[in-house]
């Protein structure tokens, strides 16, 4: 009870002191899904603050920004869940009070304590997840073909495939197609991925980042996106219900993003409030259906806020099966990471 009273008073103090006149600002280094006003505005209005958002892509870029910043420049960081430890080791994340996070309401697989916790201390909390798998236009391809990754390089869909330009999930998918678990990718067996990766590249028309991949699928430039998933097609579902995604029999990769408070933040209490808002059912529902890309909320209670239509697009009811069949991103050490990126660069310049 005393704890609850303290928290209530802290929140009240934050609301009272954060008047617009004081122009309190929270600086967050995020992925593009956090830039949706529908997600940010309720927090800004509740606390009377302005949230400044800077987008970044790729952990290396995010960590580089933090490396080059002064302590206090950033308050909140959104990061790939598998890279939380990397950020902690670099001293960029502050400890979070685990008892104030609603992880008990999360899908159990998404608590991801092995990723968000270092040395028994919690540094981040999972906020959103989804799958890197196969997205397609079901009016143009046979959905049954999409259940087997081998079909992609069979010649049937040559020139109609786009590849998502992110080496970790796509190399993970290629590994799965070769019967290698993502956690088992090593410098030794990476060579086994070269031939199937190059074959996939040969069968594809383009390798594109998020927006270009979405555009290509939506405009019919490609009919299949390898590495896509609900994050690619869900946002377009209303306009084009033919865009769909599936997890092939070889499996898929599960992506997850975490959020934490940046070490050295000058307003850690407000930053923590932001984190708590994001993982609340309301924040989770807004984040799940963000205008940039959709994804499953980590907090299962968001299901009480999301509309039935949104849940259908997110395949809410199929999550137990999907979660069982998906593997986490590979977590390469520096040497393997370099080797994977070199292979990816070679593929791009094939």
């Amino acid at each position: 009870m005393e704890m609850t009273m303290t928290r209530t008073l802290s929140a009240l103090a934050l609301i009272l002191t954060a008047t617009p006149g004081l122009a309190q600002e929270l600086n967050a280094l995020v992925w593009c899904d956090h830039t949706d006003p529908a997600l940010i505005r309720p927090f800004e209005e509740k606390f009377g603050v302005k949230v400044n958002l800077k987008e970044y892509e790729g952990t290396a870029a995010g960590l580089a920004i933090l490396d080059q910043s002064q302590p206090g420049d950033w308050d909140v960081l959104v990061i790939d869940a598998v890279d939380v430890k990397r950020a902690v080791e670099a001293g960029h994340l502050a400890e979070l009070p685990a008892d104030q996070l609603p992880t008990a309401d999360f899908f159990p697989e998404l608590v991801m304590a092995e990723n968000n916790t270092v040395g028994g201390k919690t540094y981040a909390v999972t906020e959103k997840f989804g799958y890197n798998t196969v997205s397609y236009d079901k009016s143009k391809v046979d959905p049954a073909d999409m259940e087997d990754m081998a079909t992609l390089t069979s010649g049937k869909y040559d020139g109609r495939i786009g590849i998502y330009d992110y080496y970790l999930p796509v190399l993970g998918l290629v590994a799965l197609s070769q019967g290698i678990k993502t956690a088992d990718i090593t410098a030794e067996n990476l060579g086994a991925l070269r031939e199937p990766l190059m074959a996939l590249r040969k069968a594809s028309k383009q390798v594109s980042e998020v927006v270009a991949a979405q555009t290509a699928l939506a405009t019919g430039e490609v009919d299949i996106v390898v590495g896509g998933g609900e994050w690619l097609t869900a946002v377009l579902a209303t306009e084009n219900p033919n865009l769909d995604w599936t997890i092939p029999k070889q499996g898929a990769l599960r992506w997850a993003q975490s959020i934490g408070v940046v070490a050295g933040s000058t307003q850690p209490d407000l930053a923590l409030e932001f984190v708590k808002y994001i993982v609340s059912p309301e924040g989770q529902a807004a984040l799940a259906t963000s205008s940039c890309y959709w994804g499953m909320p980590a907090n299962a209670k968001a299901g009480e806020v999301l509309s039935p239509e949104a849940k259908a697009v997110l395949r809410w009811d199929q999550q137990p099966d999907f979660l069982a069949r998906a593997q986490l991103y590979p977590i390469p050490d520096a040497a393997l990471d370099t080797a994977m990126q070199d292979l990816w660069t070679e593929m791009l310049n094939q």
Binding site: A212, A216, T219, T345, L348, N349
Partner: protein
């Protein structure tokens, strides 16, 4: 103090802000970049030192070398096509369009400049795509049976670049042509030269500085551009700026990115020396 000494001091005073700006935001960072290009990575850490490994890799690793070759090929093709298209356009505006309409004609020529470069680049795939204007027109005219792949190819990158640089070159060449006295052409024709001979032996040599200046600017901007090949090329091949971005954004390999940037600067410097005989940057 003599008048000359006071003028010199005033001149230095006026130049000082620009010199300081250039030193602080170009010279020093550039020297830092050169120093960083000799560092190397150990794991995810940058280790300072004098290691020529990054440069050795650029010229021995086929993926890196191919990116340089791709950049040079694309830049050469874009520069030539842009000059060939821009020269007649500039000449028509300068010599055929009545003086009172020339300003409007130039305005029309550079109108696409008014939209964002990125927006323009993202628009091209809609024109060149499978269901884009070009393919639909060709299909409608019965010239092709199946849509041809233009988007996500080098051709798309070249089209996007040429669209931009024809505007730039039209301006630089026009600025040169308009300064040319009509008496040169009249004199040549009085001496019996045909229109073609007048153009080849009189007009073209006199406007060469404008052409070379525009071509040099095209070369510099094109070879260093990341957006157009990234959006229009569909990552079907890599150019040098794309490779640099991969090292910066993905790998965090700042030493290799610096070495690639130094190579890019060296290529631009070579282009400058190759064209310096005709280069008149004051005509821009």
């Amino acid at each position: 103090m003599s008048l000359a000494a006071r003028d010199r001091r005033l001149a230095w005073g006026l130049m000082a802000p620009a010199l300081l700006w250039t030193a602080a935001f170009f010279v020093l960072p550039f020297l830092g970049m050169i120093a960083l290009s000799f560092a190397h990575m150990e794991g995810r850490q940058v280790v300072q030192g004098f290691d020529t490994g990054n440069y050795a890799r650029i010229f021995t690793d086929w993926t890196m070398l191919k990116a340089l070759i791709n950049s040079l090929e694309i830049t050469a093709v874009v520069t030539v096509i842009s000059v060939v298209l821009a020269y007649p356009l500039a000449a028509i505006i300068a010599f055929r369009v009545p003086a009172r309409w020339q300003r409007l004609a130039l305005l029309m020529a550079v109108l696409p400049f008014w939209t964002s470069y990125v927006v323009r680049s993202y628009s091209w795939p809609l024109v060149l795509g499978q269901n884009g204007v070009v393919n639909q027109t060709l299909l409608g005219l019965g010239l092709i049976a199946e849509p041809v792949q233009i988007a996500s190819t080098r051709a798309a990158t070249v089209v996007g670049f040429v669209h931009f640089f024809v505007m730039l070159l039209t301006l630089t060449i026009y600025a040169n042509l308009i300064q040319l006295s009509p008496n040169y052409a009249r004199a040549a024709q009085d001496l019996g030269a045909s229109r073609w001979q007048t153009f080849v032996h009189v007009i073209l040599p006199l406007t060469l500085p404008g052409v070379v200046t525009g071509a040099f600017l095209t070369f510099v901007l094109c070879i260093g551009d990341y957006i157009t090949p990234q959006i229009l090329g569909g990552n079907t091949e890599l150019t040098l700026p794309q490779l640099i971005m991969l090292q910066l954004g993905r790998s965090g390999n700042f030493p290799l990115a610096s070495a690639l940037s130094v190579v890019l600067m060296a290529v631009v410097t070579l282009a400058y020396f190759a064209s310096s005989r005709w280069l008149r940057l004051d005509r821009v």
